[in-house]
């Protein structure tokens, strides 16, 4: 079933805060094999001018995923998640994600289109602190293979 294109431009309500923990950052850094001390040692991070340990750049996906999932699992939008592959992903950072951050995300549906029998959903998550400081923007393209209507 094709996606409902009236969802283009839709903005979802802010998500519940994600609290960035030191041990979660360490676990993520270990999992991706990045040994930089700024992820593990607050002193090393402060030496680089950060207030506490920071997260690897792609840790942003951990925070962005629950934001994006609002659309991915929105029954009204109708994305068939079993057929979804990740097409593109981009992050733009105002500053690094830092231990102790409480991050809130607002999801925007930027585009919905069909190409070669696939449904293609472009989403943008604007993520910042509860106080409204922008931390990063995540833009992603999700492709549902073979779900669009044949033309």
């Amino acid at each position: 079933m094709p996606l409902d294109s009236s969802f283009i431009g839709r903005e979802y309500p802010p998500t519940a805060p994600y609290e960035v923990g030191r041990e979660k950052i360490r676990e993520f850094a270990d999992a991706i094999g990045d040994e930089h001390p700024a992820y593990r040692d607050a002193e090393a991070a402060r030496g680089l001018g950060h207030p506490d340990v920071i997260a690897p750049p792609t840790f942003a996906i951990v925070v962005a995923m629950p934001v994006v999932n609002q659309a991915a699992f929105d029954p009204e939008l109708g994305l068939d998640y079993t057929k979804v592959v990740h097409g593109e992903q981009k992050f733009s950072y105002s500053r690094p994600i830092t231990a102790g951050d409480r991050l809130v995300g607002v999801l925007h549906i930027d585009n919905i289109r069909s190409a070669a029998g696939n449904d293609i959903l472009s989403v943008r998550a604007e993520v910042g602190t509860e106080a409204g400081e922008h931390v990063f923007t995540s833009t992603g393209m999700l492709v549902a293979r073979g779900t669009a209507e044949e033309k």
């Binding site: 700024a38 750049p57 995923m65």
Partner: protein, 139 residues
């Protein structure tokens, strides 16, 4: 830490062969919260038309960024990072797993002490990340 004045467009800054094994996928699933079965269940992966279990695209994206971070010296200097997932990285169930060959080069010097770094990632000779680009702020 590299200095803006000293870097030149066209210079290769890093190149490495990165192994990705089944255990890495399990570990990344746990750390990232992405438990999509195509990353750990061969039966389901084949049922949906894949040749075998595939790596999380985000894991490949993350591992490619490690070279960037190592070169920049401070992960906080990465201002932008984006990729297109061109092809899945198929991870066989053996001790070697898959190998992703990553190279990074300075594509362009930008304003305000920033550089654009272009990354290439290949597995089995095929490009797995395309249009992989980062903007890094230098001193």
């Amino acid at each position: 830490m590299p200095r803006y004045a000293d870097v030149e467009a066209g210079t290769e800054i890093a190149a490495r062969d990165l192994p990705i094994r089944r255990a890495d996928l399990v570990r990344y699933a746990g750390a990232s919260g992405d438990f999509n079965v195509i990353h750990w269940n061969e039966r389901v992966a084949r049922e949906v038309g894949l040749p075998n279990v595939i790596a999380h695209g985000m894991l490949t994206m993350a591992k490619a960024a490690n070279l960037l971070v190592e070169w920049a010296g401070d992960p906080g200097r990465v201002e932008e990072y984006g990729v297109r997932f061109a092809k899945p990285v198929v991870v066989p169930d053996d001790d070697e797993g898959a190998t992703v060959t990553v190279t990074a080069k300075i594509a362009k010097k930008l304003e305000d002490n920033r550089v654009r770094v272009d990354i290439e990632a290949r597995s089995d000779g095929e490009k797995v990340l395309s249009l992989a680009r980062a903007v890094v702020r230098l001193d």
